[in-house]
């Protein structure tokens, strides 16, 4: 099977997953205990017209299967109704600067964690049994076991409260007027440092452990022995024969971990009051803002699905054996 066919298959898989997500979302908010109208429409702040419009939008007076079809249509356009809290369309709330803020935090954090994990994991495996190896393994276990928001709190306690070199919360200094883009960027990055550090610290342990065990596995393979016998330099063996093989599962892992790192992002954003999707979900929960919750969950799931498809394709490109 060629690469193109593979990509095609993955896209179809993605489409199936998309429909499953839509279905799950529908059932979560329609079939779960309680009256859907209470979840979606019965807000004292809404006017009578708004309620009527929403009733029509969701087709709540129609039979369930028809509601489902309408729901699928609405999902394509992210039409999840109106937020209880903000009294604005959910679509406008999620496709906003908040989404950019979340991506600005998550993408660098994932990349940093992966790179750091791969490098340290490689060194640990290369010097198996050394002090470095045992220390790094233990440290990653510790980080793996530590709640991300607590690390966030500690980071703020140390760097903001005691040292005063980082801001407490938020994504920009409130009320400030920027003179130019650079000033804004500096302020933004200054605020980003804390959450980024936190997320990276928590995530990198997992990559390290997996890279280490993959590499140890690869080192015991015959082709490494053969490469040694061929007299190749240690560098070639490590990079072209060892890491090249050991890194393949990491690629898949990065895709799968998207789901995991979004979870981390939600908590990190909450702790740091980062103006992003995670923070929004927290607010939606506290205000029982179901339409907003529904929209955010759908968007996050979609992001993971897309990330998965992309990593699968990268994997297929890297591994010549792929033949599904």
């Amino acid at each position: 099977m060629g690469l193109r066919e593979f990509v095609f298959k993955r896209l179809i898989d993605g489409a199936i997953l998309f429909f499953m997500t839509v279905t799950l979302n529908f059932f979560l908010f329609r079939v779960m205990p309680g009256d859907p109208t209470a979840f979606l429409i019965e807000n004292p702040k809404f006017t009578a017209e708004t309620r009527k419009a929403l009733l029509k939008l969701f087709g709540l007076d129609k039979p369930l299967w028809e509601q489902y079809l309408i729901y699928i249509k609405n999902s394509f356009t992210f039409n999840f109704g109106i937020s209880f809290q903000y009294l604005a369309p959910v679509r406008d709330l999620i496709f906003s600067v908040r989404l950019l803020n979340t991506l600005a935090l998550m993408i660098p954090a994932t990349l940093l964690a992966t790179i750091l994990g791969v490098i340290v994991g490689t060194v640990a495996a290369w010097r198996r049994g050394s002090k470095f190896d045992s220390t790094s393994t233990f440290v990653s276990l510790v980080f793996y076991s530590t709640p991300v928001y607590w690390i966030g709190l500690l980071v703020m306690l140390v760097f903001a409260y005691y040292l005063g070199i980082l801001p407490f919360r938020g994504s920009i200094t409130p009320g400030i007027k920027y003179e130019n883009v650079f000033q804004f960027a500096a302020d933004y990055l200054w605020h980003l440092t804390g959450p980024l550090l936190t997320l990276t610290l928590v995530n990198f342990g997992g990559y390290l452990l997996i890279m280490r065990s993959n590499l140890l596995d690869v080192f015991s393979q015959d082709y490494i022995v053969a490469a040694r016998a061929k007299g190749l330099s240690e560098r070639t063996i490590l990079f072209s024969y060892g890491m090249r093989n050991a890194i393949l599962p990491i690629v898949t892992l990065t895709g799968l971990n998207m789901a995991f790192s979004i979870s981390g992002a939600v908590l990190t954003e909450t702790v740091f009051s980062w103006y992003g999707m995670g923070r929004l979900i927290y607010e939606a929960v506290n205000q029982r803002d179901y339409p907003l919750l529904e929209g955010i969950f759908f968007l996050l799931a979609l992001m993971v699905i897309i990330a998965n498809i992309i990593t699968d394709i990268i994997y297929a490109y890297l591994d010549p054996r792929i033949k599904y």
């Binding site: 276990l141 510790v142 076991s145 709640p147 409260y161 140890l216 995991f260």
Partner: protein
């Protein structure tokens, strides 16, 4: 040799195996440390009322946020409750949620894994599709949504955690089941006329048991973290004090900007240590079960 003596022989041999396992486990640094920490926490959870100087309902409203002293070993919270006592009482919540959620997770995972792996065909395709789907769903947002819909109670939290975390176990159990199912000894059993139930209980389950065991341990660690996370977001059961909830209140009542470190440090440290103990035990079990990591 009669039946009775065969049974005695088997019990004795089983005892030998347990001893042998204990000996190998004892030699594992991580495993031993994890077990010691865990024992300590189990002790705290079981005997909380006897160890804690106060109960969670003892409020000293006149002394909120008092720093550690001889009266309050770890200071007090915003209501003037003894943080040390809250910490000890919180152990029970974390442990219970962790253990029960993990058991439920592994039961679902094992059932799905064995069923999908053993029967194959369309059943497998559908179950695996479902597993993959749950595997890539962002777990915490899903848990948040579910918990928000179902409302705060300890049982809902257990349910929510299990419903979100079973796929990992299911996957691993399925692939192990597949390999056992393909093995010659299962074929031999079939050639003797063994039915599916016999094969599942006599061959497949015994061969996946070590994995199930390891996953129960690892899932407890994950469940404890998940419970703490949900509680930290304010979705915890208010009638059971937990470490995550303590951090929630600490954050809500501005412990951070006030620099009240004695409210922030202990609960997080407790979560970390307990989770770490399970992780270390899991790590040790993995090393014992998976001989490939062991030196030849």
């Amino acid at each position: 040799m009669n039946k009775e003596s065969v049974r005695i022989k088997k019990i004795k041999l089983f005892g030998d195996r347990v001893l042998e396992f204990a000996r190998i486990y004892y030699r594992n640094k991580y495993g031993l440390a994890g077990l010691i920490i865990l024992t300590f926490f189990i002790f705290l959870a079981l005997f909380a009322p006897f160890i804690a100087p106060y109960t969670p309902s003892d409020t000293f409203l006149a002394e909120p946020f008092s720093p550690p002293s001889s009266k309050f070993l770890l200071g007090t919270d915003e209501l003037g409750r003894d943080i040390f006592s809250l910490l000890i009482y919180g152990t029970w919540t974390s442990m219970t949620v962790g253990v029960l959620a993990s058991l439920l997770t592994v039961i679902i995972g094992t059932f799905v894994g064995i069923y999908a792996g053993y029967y194959g065909g369309i059943v497998q395709s559908i179950l695996m599709r479902l597993t993959d789907f749950f595997l890539i769903l962002p777990a915490l947002p899903l848990m948040i949504v579910l918990a928000a819909i179902l409302g705060p109670s300890i049982w809902n939290i257990i349910f929510v955690i299990s419903i979100v975390s079973w796929p990992v176990t299911a996957r691993v159990i399925m692939s192990q089941t597949l390999s056992v199912k393909e093995s010659s000894y299962v074929e031999a059993s079939k050639a003797l006329g063994a039915g599916d139930t016999y094969i599942i209980f006599r061959h497949i389950l015994p061969n996946v048991t070590p994995l199930i065991f390891a996953y129960v341990i690892l899932n407890i660690a994950g469940a404890i973290l998940a419970e703490a996370g949900l509680s930290f977001l304010g979705l915890g059961d208010p009638s059971h004090i937990s470490w995550g909830m303590m951090l929630y209140y600490a954050d809500q009542f501005g412990a951070l900007v006030a620099g009240i470190w004695w409210y922030i440090l202990p609960p997080g440290l407790a979560i970390s240590l307990l989770v770490l103990s399970f992780m270390m035990i899991g790590y040790a079990l993995d090393e014992i079960i998976n001989p490939r990591i062991r030196r030849r």
